[in-house]
Symmetry: C6
Subunit: 271 residues, 6 copies
């Protein structure tokens, strides 16, 4: 049995395609030119990571992305000693590399990280732009092109996991939401290969389901899921099955909520 | 004393037998051809692991299975430094191996793992398909045949242990349930060696007991337990003793619930 | 001052004496012949460990016993790297040894262990019978004579510590209780050296005290404690002092409960 | 595309600009001359760190700043053994360096650190002025110019995180608040490059928003955020967009609070 | 200034003095002769440790005492690998040494230890008398003279810290209480050097204060404290000051409770 | 700018000045002569540490002080293995050094330490006076001049952090409070260099504020803070500013409590 691999555009070549929401490109450039760090806020799958890759490519900067999590510590960012040839040798982490060599260091879902991660950014996000490495005794001055970008999803925030004001107030902040209808249809069509006319009902369905957020759904349908759905349809899956596998099942495990979503889908897609 | 060993089919040879529930085989193939990751949802022992092994064998892919648990960290998946000959040498984990060499990496019961495990999958489950190894400074692009499959049991989910939307919305999702009666009888007969006519009452008993889930039982009888029971009967154990040891005792420790199950069994099995 | 050492039978020679409760020996043999794993449930000191040693000796299998506890991790079972001669060398744990060389691996009080211990058993307790060692990159196929046996005491189970259905439903299960009166008298006499006629009142006392479980006592008197008591009597201790030291004091610290037990003892032992 | 980098004053040259609030400079000098340690209290971004850098430069002292966090331990301050050439070699931490060589050791947000950090300061903050290093067996007498400065934000304090009286009562304490209006306008103008006349409305807006602290806002607008805003305006961003990105979005994620802040901004900025 | 050192009897020479409460010496000898392990229960400072040292000396056995605590793990008892000359070398812990060479291993306050400590004793406290060392792969058979003794204070027990029945029911148990009046007077006089006539009122005071246990006092006055008090009196301290420093202050921090105790002391000591 | 350094008396020369409260010096000497350990109880900054240094100097003993905290473990006191020249070498901790060489080992705020710290003191604080080092296999007999002194502040004690009776009842105990008025005035004058007539109103203020403990203040003003205040006044600071910086700000962060304290200060200091 043979299956044709349908590869996406190579993400390492050229400037990744990005559909702008508002003034975020100008804001990013201004902040970067004045060496101010940026915080991106918005729901999952709305394009924050793509935006950072896009802007870094436009500005000719390398970008290093770190997905934060409960166990991510400052040492994972700054570096650590490893044993080589009987010696302990210091190995820079991704943040230290960016500080030394310039470019964007992007910390995705910063609120998930351990608290020391936010703190290590403090001397890098005020006018000092310094990274002290207690373990090596170094005090590194950031390259002029160095920039910190962090993101998080305000919808998840809770008392246990939030940015302290002393961290938040160090960032120029941009709020993201999903794209307007027409731009989202165009973006999904480009990413999935499915014609805009066939994408449109899927986007309309997603927009209806997003209104249920906070009632039956923890989070709205991301643009990514619409792309998945359109991709499966483009690969030949029946529309109903693609919607179920790429939109409904990823949203919920509750049988009655699923049944309701199926009904909304049937009504929206005209079947 | 001698006992004849009755070995099961060698699981490493040929394509493991699999009885399909619905469109899951076509869906798996479509997702794999478009490089989309898959999430399997369903109760214990309904065949999720077998399905992954079956599909990987059909597609000619190696499969690496990781059973997730509370102490599983990202490093267990990505790799770690070991000391060899006075040097620290990097050793790839199962995920890194699959990324480099292609094939399916299957994370069973993903919600049980520590949070960093889900996060390490993020850049591998969007269009980047990249695995950054902070510890080695590598950024590995996944082989075109690389695929992530994860599973979990929605019946266990709770507030502490669930997939965040930012993770969930990265997967095409398939829901599993137990097989329809006739297919389950056939599957148990094949696996246990017991004739279908003798398997049928066991499947009927299991189906009755599954209706008690949520009332007296935490989980329904898995197909695996029916196979165990049929296997003991095939090995010569009296039916009542096999049902007790392979179906009733594995379901509960409560004396009164056991007594009720014994009654249901007697009624169903006609004794 | 000299004291004569009265050594018990050497536990490493021959088949350990075992008094059967019911069909457990046949069930163990059937399960072993079909390569099904076994779960033993029952109160402390009722003979579960002795049963495993007995069956393993009958089947000519080596047995490796691991007592589980809060800090027992999968690595304690599977093995770990140690530094030898400047090299890290892998050293198999007891589970890995049994998988490679065959025989019974017995995990006593499995619910006490950390969750990853249960999970490491999963691929060994379905038809795969495989042990993947992520740290060494090995995938070991179990010897045909390899068997997993686990046990726990349902009386202790609580919400925090229980086997997940996905683990439980992988085992043929046998419930143990204390021996019937006559068999218990015989077993205690054999183990302690005290004549059956002098053992009988002790067993009767234990049986009366077991009815208090759940009211004043957390757990009933184990056969082991009766053996201790009979041993002290056989060594010359007055009956009342032996009962106090070997039966009453091990059961409770509450002064009023103790007083009640002393009264029950006096009534039962006729003094 | 080219973007002109507008670099801030090099923070490593000369005495950093500092606008005094009250008697804090004289108090710092008195405490330093009598070898008394200092505690700074005040909200985020009001200039505590800048003050320490300023005073240290005036007194000709090196300053070593440590941002405290949940995972900061005493060993991070005092030092640790590292493996070099097969030997474990002791490497001084920033506190030990300052004790040996003199100068200011500044621990920012001390209440965030682990408890052992506060305790390691005890023998350094009474008349002993000693640092015992249990790990090396050293007892280091502090240089006469050595000084400990710590800070925290009383607004965050809670039961879990506070300084014990036995620590607090070792420090001369200074309370900080935001600068008076005219001084804040001057400071923002100097830092951002924007004319004072254009800065004034921004400071007025910030002062109005600070009165909302404790009602809708967790923390007032820091001077740092006003500088960010003025910097973006100076870089050509429209005033409304700069206020949103540098003042409103960093303060809150709540849609209704944001709307209220936007209204306050419109009213204050005359639009 | 010179102070004469008044050394106690060398605890390493001869058999430590011990005043028996009841049948505990005979019970210890019987248990030891039949290789049964022993559990000692009783309040702090009533002589449990002294009893073990006494019995071990009488039986000509070496004794190894381990005071248990929250962080004591099985590895602290069994041993661990250390790095020597580039090799990891196994070093026996105190339990392993006693198992190999014989003698008493005494675990004081066993309930304080981590759970794995109790579990490591299981195969040593049934008829197997084996110590499996998973880390070295050894299975050590205990010397015939090896004996486990454990102790705890039932007054402290709580839900979090107690022995599981599966552990408790492995020990012959002896309950300790304070000595009867006359024996306690004699013991204190021997230990402190103060004449019995001067010790008697102190013992009477202690006995009165012990009746307050559970009301105002967490624990009764130990024999050790009476010895301390008598020792201070023998060293020339005024009686009132000695009682305050060695009996009242160690019992409580509450000012009103102290005042009440002082009154009881004045009434009892006739002043 | 030049600032004259006004150094305090070298704490390492001669006997540190100490103003006695009551019989504590005689009690310390008696306890030391009879090898009894001592526990000091009292509020922060009342002179406990100074007392220990004073007595050790009088008795010609070296003193080793350890400030306890949440992360202090027994190994920090007893010692640990370090890697030197490819060998693990044992390095004594401060307690082990004192046991071997004699002198006072002072554990400040013992209740803050981890539980194993208290337990390691047990065999050193009864008649055995032994320190077993499980890790090295040594059993060290304490020098005759070895003495353990511990302290804590009963005002902080809570359910989570307290000494167990089995630990408490091993110490002769001394309660400390603040000095009587005249002695405190003299002590502050000596330490600060400020004339007694100018110190007196500060002590009177402190005494008034101490009566507020438990109502508005967590802890009373320590003698140390009065010395700080007098020192700042002696250095030329205005009295009101010195009181605010050295007494009021260190006591509280609450604006209304501060205002009340300022009023009390104004009333007391006659202004």
């Amino acid at each position: 049995m043979t299956i044709a691999l349908n590869l996406p555009l190579n993400p390492n070549a050229g400037i990744p395609h990005y559909t702008a929401h508002g003034n975020e490109c100008a804001l990013f450039e201004s902040a970067w030119s004045r060496q101010l760090p940026i915080l991106l806020k918005g729901p999952t799958g709305c394009g924050k990571t793509r935006f950072v890759r896009h802007m870094a490519a436009r500005l000719g900067l390398p970008v290093s992305t770190v997905s934060c999590h409960d166990d991510l510590t400052a040492a994972d960012l700054t570096g650590r000693y490893l044993l080589k040839g009987g010696e302990t040798v210091w190995v820079d982490g991704p943040l230290t590399k960016a500080v030394r060599e310039g470019g964007v260091c992007y910390l995705d879902e910063i609120v998930e990280a351990r608290k020391d991660v936010a703190v290590v950014l403090h001397p890098l996000t005020d006018d000092r732009r310094l990274l002290p490495l207690e373990r090596t005794g170094e005090l590194i001055e950031a390259q002029s092109s160095f920039m910190v970008v962090v993101s998080y999803n305000p919808g998840y925030q809770n008392l246990m996991k939030s940015l302290k004001p002393s961290t938040r107030q160090r960032f120029v902040s941009i709020e993201f939401d999903f794209l307007p209808r027409d731009r989202e249809i165009a973006a999904v069509s480009i990413e999935s290969g499915l014609a805009e006319s066939r994408v449109a009902p899927l986007v309309d369905l997603a927009r209806r389901l997003r209104t249920l957020k906070g009632q039956d759904l923890e989070e709205g349908v991301s643009t990514r899921l619409i792309i998945y759905c359109a991709t499966l349809v483009d690969a030949g899956m029946p529309l109903v099955e693609a919607v179920r596998a790429a939109i409904i099942e990823p949203l919920t495990d509750e049988a009655d909520v699923k049944a309701a979503l199926v009904e909304v889908a049937a009504a929206t897609l005209g079947r």
